[in-house]
């Protein structure tokens, strides 16, 4: 069941009514409604993986209590170690086993050996990377004594499996979400209306922009050797908008749905394509994952405080890990490596925290310099997306070779004017709303109700008339 499906359009109002009207006033029942809904939501993907999800919840719940109760540091470490090994073991098995076997076999073949390869037909449980990271952050925070473990199993299970964030994040922290689960929630009209607005904006991003761009980007990426360099550039740009619309659209829907139930989830996107350098891009793209790696990998490794060499090493480690987190393929690792290379000059020049404020804050238009910086960053990010999108390194070489050929001077064969116009309008709307959590967030105080309702109607008709063939959410595969 995906957020932009008919099934979910029925599921959400049922859960909403049960939550606010039937379980009204009882925190226990409200949490149970959400927990049951979350398991139904997940079970509709593949009910067999509910057992894996349940085991993961049980493991981290128990580990958390044991770490907290342990009398000696050694006992604490043992429980932390056990939790990390088992969590990552499952992740490794389901996501990376075949990758390592194949890569090792390839390595042996380069030495002239012919290994007997034993790969498995493994189905990747949807959302495993996300809920594993939820659980890990919980036990690590307990170990660091940042969080006191909850004794309420239902609450912990809801923290991990809350359906808006279960399959594609944002990756939540116990310090942020658990207190919200443990406290009574009151219905707030403005919050609920805001939630619906954010869901609408997310649906537009996904169904109109992302799916529309996917239609053409897929054609181009499926046959890179059939197109001119200029068409390949168009393909890369379309993919850049596809992945942004797809993932940030999903995140918007997740945040909006959570807000309908009175929860505030961590923000995952903050207009990343308006970034002036790569460091700013990574503060604005998939924020919950970047901050996870920063808090649980980069800083424990010493961050940038233990000399230049360690800072460079740590930067490469987190970018490569981030790439590897996305998928068991060398293309993702290379994608992470390219971003590390982009980041390196900023780190060495101590300019990685230069652009902290919102671009052109308080102004309608950016300066020429800001515009140039944004375009440059977008070009760099788009180039790296090629590695993210291709299926293997050979395709990447074909694609890049195609771009850096004389055919880049030809007119692109695929140039969907209507879609590009629509994407431009979408970007203008995002630019207009860049000082707010999402583009439509500032409507309510400024626009009178009839105007707002007229706008919602227009946007809903845009969804009906401009939606493209439904594509699977890209981040579900991670």
């Amino acid at each position: 069941m995906v957020f932009n499906s008919f099934e979910f359009a029925l599921f959400l109002p049922i859960v909403f009514v049960l939550y606010w009207l039937v379980a009204k006033g009882s925190l226990l029942f409200q949490n149970l409604v959400l927990l049951a809904a979350s398991f139904v939501f997940y079970g509709m993907w593949d009910y067999r993986f509910l057992f894996l999800l349940f085991f993961s919840i049980l493991l981290d719940y128990t580990s958390g209590l044991q770490i907290h109760a342990a009398k000696t540091p050694r006992a604490k470490q043992w429980w932390l170690f056990a939790s990390i090994v088992i969590n990552l073991g499952f992740l490794f098995f389901f996501k990376y086993y075949n990758f390592f076997v194949d890569s090792f076999a390839d390595l042996l073949r380069t030495f002239g050996l012919q290994p007997h390869v034993w790969t498995l037909k493994i189905i990747l449980p949807v959302g495993i990377s996300f809920y594993t990271f939820h659980g890990l952050s919980y036990v690590i925070d307990i170990y660091r004594e940042k969080v006191t473990p909850t004794r309420n199993f239902n609450n912990y299970a809801l923290f991990v499996s809350f359906f808006p964030l279960l399959v594609a994040g944002p990756i939540e922290r116990a310090t942020h979400l658990l207190p919200q689960i443990e406290q009574p929630r009151r219905f707030e009209l403005s919050k609920a209306a805001d939630g619906l607005r954010q869901i609408l904006w997310g649906l537009l991003k996904k169904m109109v922009i992302a799916d529309g761009c996917a239609f053409y980007a897929n054609q181009i990426f499926d046959n890179p050797d059939a197109y001119s360099g200029s068409t390949l550039v168009v393909g890369a740009v379309l993919f850049a908008f596809q992945i942004y619309g797809d993932f940030s659209g999903y995140s918007d829907m997740a945040l909006g749905i959570a807000r309908l139930f009175g929860f505030e989830l961590l923000r995952n996107f903050a207009y990343p394509y308006f970034s002036r350098d790569i460091a700013e891009f990574w503060r604005r793209w998939h924020i919950s994952l970047s901050s996870w790696f920063k808090d649980y990998v980069y800083i424990p490794l010493g961050g940038s405080r233990e000399g230049r060499f360690k800072a460079i090493r740590n930067t490469f480690i987190i970018f490569l890990l981030s790439g590897f987190w996305h998928g068991a393929n060398w293309t993702f690792i290379l994608w992470g490596g390219i971003h590390a290379l982009y980041f390196l000059p900023l780190l060495l020049a101590n300019r990685n925290r230069k652009n902290m404020e919102i671009v052109a804050q308080g102004r309608r238009l950016p300066s020429v310099l800001e515009l140039w910086q944004m375009l440059r960053t977008f070009a760099l990010v788009t180039f790296a997306w090629i590695f993210f999108r291709v299926e293997n390194m050979t395709e990447a070489v074909v694609y890049i070779n195609g771009i850096f050929s004389f055919s880049i001077m030809e007119m692109p064969v695929i140039f969907p004017k209507g879609l590009l116009l629509l994407t431009t309008l979408f970007l203008l709307a995002e630019w207009q709303g860049r000082e707010h959590p999402y583009a439509l967030a500032n409507l309510e105080p400024r626009w009178p109700r009839p105007a707002r309702w007229a706008l919602y109607t227009v946007l809903l008709f845009c969804l009906i008339l401009l939606k493209s063939e439904q594509q699977q959410f890209i981040y579900f595969q991670f």
Partner: protein
Amino acid sequence: MKTFLIRLLIFGTLFTGLVLASAYKLAQPGEMDYVGGIVIKHKRLNEIKGPRLIFAGGSNMAFGLDSKAVEEATHMPVVNLALHGGLGLDFILEELKDVVRAGDMVVLSPEYFLEEGRYELDAAVAAFMPASEKYFKHDFYTVFKYSVESRFTQIGYNRDYLMAGWRKRNAPPERDYAAEVYSHKAFNSYGDVVAHLDLPAYGAPKVPLKLHAGYWDGIPKINAASKVLEQRGVRFYFVFPAFCQSSYDNNIAAISTLEVSLRKDLRIPVICRPQDFVYPDTLYYDSYYHLTKTGRNLRTQQLIKIVQPLTAELHAEKMLLTNTATNRPHQPQPYR
């Protein structure tokens, strides 16, 4: 909460009213009428009393077969039951299970990795031939979902219709070829699409199709149907679809993998190679699968070569049965 629900209700009612008004049926795409061809096909099926040679599948077979030529070559009455891949493999197989009888020979040619059908097309078929309702799933939930989604789809059709009207007013085309081909009148009495034969071809789309190889649930579905057909005394064969050269070249690996799985796992004989029905893009009318007149002739000749020995075998068995056992009931031979 009350305010929220009241506002939601008011907005929802206004919006629903607007959707219903915009979804007034101004026009529908040609394929909704094209599937009405099923009536002709079933009429021919019912008219023939003895064993029949039935070609089933998607539009690759509907557009790519000269049934009369096959009939003359094989001396078996031919029915081209193939209609539209969008109806889905389940529909095609259910239809076969419903219509076959002992002595029939069935040649199935689904498009590559054919999946579940589109309910709107299945429902459109049922509007022409209510008996076809048993070929597809139409439980309460599916019908409810379709009744909602069809309103949204209709708004899209209306938009296309109005935009086409606007374009026509500005630059009227000489003829609307699509309207001529995608209609229930496109078929001859055998069930072959013939409306496109003398029209200028558009060629296969410039961008080759990309097939995504993987597990195809069509194999177990065909196997399940083959058991039923076998019990009825029907010979059942699989052939690959007609496919344009550029898309074939682009998917050699996926098609080879599929061919290996089919030969290994399918219960029915696969009686050709994928490349047997691969033709240059210029021999395609308007899609990766729809052959032009020349392409259709080439494919028909190729099909005759493949099917003729099988029908000859069938005739020989029939002769043998007639000569040796006058009063014994017909016992069809297992086909594997």
